[in-house]
């Protein structure tokens, strides 16, 4: 039996009464008080997530840019020092090895924050394709990562606003951290990367400033409401970025792994696409449920903000227009849903 890894905040979670579950080889909090109140805290005020299980890879050297530019789908030329970018690590068939955020730390040094479950595969993928003058390191064990998200998150942390997908070194209550203007909730917020030993102090400071501890349960419902794909559910090595609606992350005019196949899918039009849907009848869609018209639910849950079942799934191209009715097979019961434009949930301020 494999031993589960623990983040430096494990003791904090247990002390808060969190329900701990295995996730990608880690023992992580799925909820503290409850998924719904934690979800609401992030949508209405401010929540804090321990996402220290995520992997951190560093790629450094005079040829690091060239190395990554050949492996990542998005155009790395657009990222300056202090900037970040959502991008995909693609395979030869245009499938998605992982989705990640790349940060340019220095002109010749990059940080890649990757999914916990893909950390080793990503590291090997990138290292195996190294070119002379670029060096790949797995730095995951040195860092902890806290996501502080919600409309009041910056106010609570005493931070000024800054453009999304930028980063800067800073300090929070005396603790030095990398302040990243990124997140996975659709809300304003930051992700704070700190040295592992500083994580408990930073967590305490953030909680003392009024952030509600939130678990992986709320993280999943938050990201699903705004249609951020989850690798392993909605995207994976057998699904391509174009069909997944991630064509905007693919610079098809540059050369990178799988680009030929992706250009072909784009030119021909995908046979099936990842759509978002909202249930128009009772029932909660779940991953793996058949879509009767052809396809499968890849993520499904109850939306705390809409108080309805919501989900994403691949359907034939003929069923992708918003307003199209589809039928979900909920354990043998046919329940109707409507395809909607992404994201499913809009923050009221956005109209």
């Amino acid at each position: 039996m494999q031993t589960l890894l623990r983040t430096p905040l494990y003791e904090r979670h247990v002390a808060l009464g969190a329900r701990m579950v295995p996730f990608a080889g880690w023992e992580m909090p799925v909820q503290y008080e409850g998924v719904i109140p934690e979800h609401r805290a992030v949508r209405e005020d401010c929540g804090v997530f321990d996402v220290s299980h995520m992997g951190e890879l560093e790629v450094e050297g005079p040829k690091a840019h060239e190395h990554l530019q050949s492996l990542l789908s998005n155009d790395l030329d657009k990222v300056e020092v202090g900037g970040a970018q959502y991008t995909l690590l693609t395979n030869e068939t245009g499938g998605i090895v992982d989705d990640l955020i790349v940060y340019r730390l220095e002109p010749c040094r990059y940080l890649l924050v990757v999914n916990a479950s893909n950390r080793e595969a990503d590291f090997e993928w990138i290292r195996d394709r190294e070119i002379r003058g670029s060096d790949t390191r797995d730095a995951s064990d040195r860092y902890a990562l806290l996501a502080v998200q919600g409309p009041r998150s910056l106010e609570r942390l005493g931070l000024d606003d800054a453009p999304a997908f930028t980063w800067a070194m800073g300090e929070l209550d005396g603790i030095e951290c990398m302040i990243n203007r990124t997140g996975y909730t659709g809300e304003k917020g930051v992700e704070l990367m700190v040295m592992e030993e500083d994580a408990p102090g930073l967590w305490d400071a953030v909680v003392a400033r009024g952030a509600t501890p939130a678990g992986l349960g709320a993280r999943d419902t938050l990201r699903l409401e705004v249609c951020y794909p989850l690798h392993g559910n909605d995207i994976g090595p057998d699904t391509d970025a174009i069909s997944a609606g991630l064509g905007w992350t693919c610079a098809l005019d540059k050369d990178f792994t799988g680009v030929v196949e992706l250009r072909r899918v784009k030119a021909e039009g995908p046979a099936r696409k990842l759509v978002a849907f909202v249930m128009t009848e009772s029932g909660i869609p779940r991953q793996g449920m058949p879509i009767v018209e052809g396809g499968e639910v890849t993520s499904g849950s109850h939306s705390p903000m809409l108080d309805k079942g919501i989900g994403m799934g691949y359907v034939d191209a003929a069923y992708t227009e918003p307003g199209t009715n589809v039928t979900i097979d909920v354990r043998g019961r046919e329940r109707h849903a409507e395809v909607v434009k992404k994201p499913i949930y809009h923050h009221p301020e956005e109209g």
Binding site: G34, V35, G217, S282, G283, I284, H302, R333
Partner: protein, 131 residues
Amino acid sequence: MAAAESYPDELRYHSEHDWARVEGDEATLGITWYAQDALGELVHYEPPEDGSDLARGAPYGEVESVKAVSDVIAPLSGTIVAVNTKVVDEPETVNADPYGEGWLVRIKLSTPSEVEELMDAEKYKAFVAEQ
């Protein structure tokens, strides 16, 4: 708001964490505090059809939280005479009051002698303590 842990003495309990309040040849059924706590806040109740038959030990409905779905197991056999539509509309009622307003169905017993096979509150508390 979740209720505090309790297992009322007047109820009978099934090992799948269901309770029965037996009154004459009818019984009201629901899930225990332990079951609702394990699931978390309920967001969906899929009830059986009125008039349908329940077999002891077999699923008759489903309850779902954000993260999980669970079959509801019949502690006794019988025929549905009422479904709690309040729980259909507001599933979180089960978390707030699992033995009162959060009841799930009412049945007419087909085999009243099955009641003897259920646990009393003391036995069920000991059973829960082992989980």
